[in-house]
Amino acid sequence: MRFLASLINGISLGSVYAIIALGYTMVYGIAKMLNFAHGDVIMVGAYAAFVMLNQIGLPVYVAIPVSMVVCTVLGLVIERFAYRPLRKAASPLAVLITAIGVSYLLQNLALLIFGANTRSFSSVVHLKSLRLFDGGIIITGEMIVNAVVCVAIMAGLTLFVNKTKQGQAMRAVSEDKGAAQLMGINANGTIALTFAIGAALAAVAGVLMCSSYPALTPYTGAMPGIKAFVAAVFGGIGSIPGAFIGGILLGVIEVLGKSYISSQLGDAIVFSVLIIVLLVKPTGILGKNIQEKV
């Protein structure tokens, strides 16, 4: 019973990781960069929703789309002004370091605007909890919504990438930017679109995460962001189903580890698993073997 309860908890937490990881992995797949500010975009999305829901009192169906728009614009601005000018820089480290800088910038801006106090985020989910086995297992509405939204996003992205013209353009840019340009694909525009999608997903993740775990601070996004990065690497970075599987597994491992081994060592367990996976299969679960092309 305890195992089942932990498993369900883990899937719910993992669904949030998976949504964040999908954003990470798409941006990596196309722009070949690790957007370490991705976690903080989640925090911005959560604050945007918090302001609209708790301070202005707007309904959920307005607050969520608007916070997605806020994050999309933020994602586009970050891409255009922080990352694009460095895309042709000699070292790929330049853009990586910039991403870390953007991460701190966002955290400090949030600190400046909202202060360091923990805000209590009220859940956007108003579903009744399911009680199974006479209350032995409780599945909250948030858990159900997390899992459903995560599966829907992953299915939507898979369809988008494989079936639409824009999606095919993304795959083309991801593999060979120059050849994609020869097809008439605007590589910069495609990369910007990817950032926009990733940021919109981050807003969804932020709202869902703060609905399940209601404490909101300027650092709320940092740790989940890093764990989602781990999840993306775990599943095979660049792979959409990989990010999904990696996210769910990571959530399950974290909750099971906290429940059975040590509640303090939860994060340590998560990162140990990453190390083991990378030692055994360096490309991650669904990662492609990197071929050297002649």
Binding site: Q168, Q181, L182, G184, I185, K288
Partner: protein
């Protein structure tokens, strides 16, 4: 009338001057070859024409429009396709997905279908393998795919960069055969080749490049019989 005109083009790679002021043109309906050794600057010229790299000075005119500063992704819809060196097919996508990306800038679905049929007629092997992942095909088949993909944009001018590189002799003959057929169907061809003999056999005119400069030009037929050319490029 010259379909493509390149005037006093100079291109830099970092501090290295790769192209040192060259001028040439391609008339409508011609097959023009650029030949020269490795590092002469042939690929750089093609990359500059299709906007993958910027020119330092000089101008490139396509159908009298100055395209020197036009962004790379806007070139193909003007009617110029580029089959890049090393084929560069999208190896994770299927043959059909690759071909459809070739028609990325075209809107009319019916027209795209018709072009697809003509490409399949020209390359029956692509039809047989339309659902195969491109990266799993042989070099010769990938070259056909790269050419088919370029033809999907229905270009007026097609630039081909080393289409015979790394292919077996049978495939080389097949590829040159196809280039002649593409030309016969009314597409103008600018061909870059290290296989000078083959290139001169099918070209109307040719330019000989040496370290970023044009050192000789003329009818392909006469270059084929030029003693200096025979010595330097035809291995005789």
């Amino acid at each position: 009338m010259a379909m493509l005109e390149v005037n006093e083009l100079k291109v830099c790679y970092g501090v290295i001057q790769a192209i040192k002021g060259i001028s040439f043109h391609v008339n409508e309906g011609e097959v023009v070859a650029l030949i020269g050794a490795n590092g002469a600057g042939k690929t750089t010229i093609l990359h500059t024409i299709t906007g993958l790299i910027g020119a330092q000075s000089g101008e490139i005119l396509f159908e009298d429009k100055n395209i020197t500063k036009t962004a790379g992704h806007k070139i193909v819809s003007m009617g110029m396709a580029h089959v890049p060196e090393g084929r560069r097919v999208f190896s994770e996508l299927t043959v059909l997905q690759n071909l459809k990306l070739g028609a990325y800038t075209r809107k009319d679905k019916g027209e795209i279908e018709r072009t697809l049929e003509t490409v399949y007629e020209r390359f029956p092997r692509l039809y047989e393998r339309k659902n195969q992942i491109a990266g799993t095909m042989s070099g010769g088949e990938q070259q056909m795919l790269a050419m088919g993909r370029a033809l999907m944009s229905h270009p007026k001018l097609i630039l081909m960069d080393e289409p015979s590189m790394g292919l077996s002799p049978i495939f080389v003959n097949e590829i040159f055969d196809i280039i002649q057929k593409v030309s016969a169907s009314g597409t103008t061809v600018l061909l870059v080749e290290q296989n000078a003999k083959k290139a001169l056999t099918i070209a109307d005119r040719a330019y000989v490049l040496e370290t970023g400069r044009i050192v000789k030009e003329g009818a392909a037929e006469s270059l084929l019989h030029d003693d200096a050319i025979r010595k330097a490029y035809l291995g005789e």
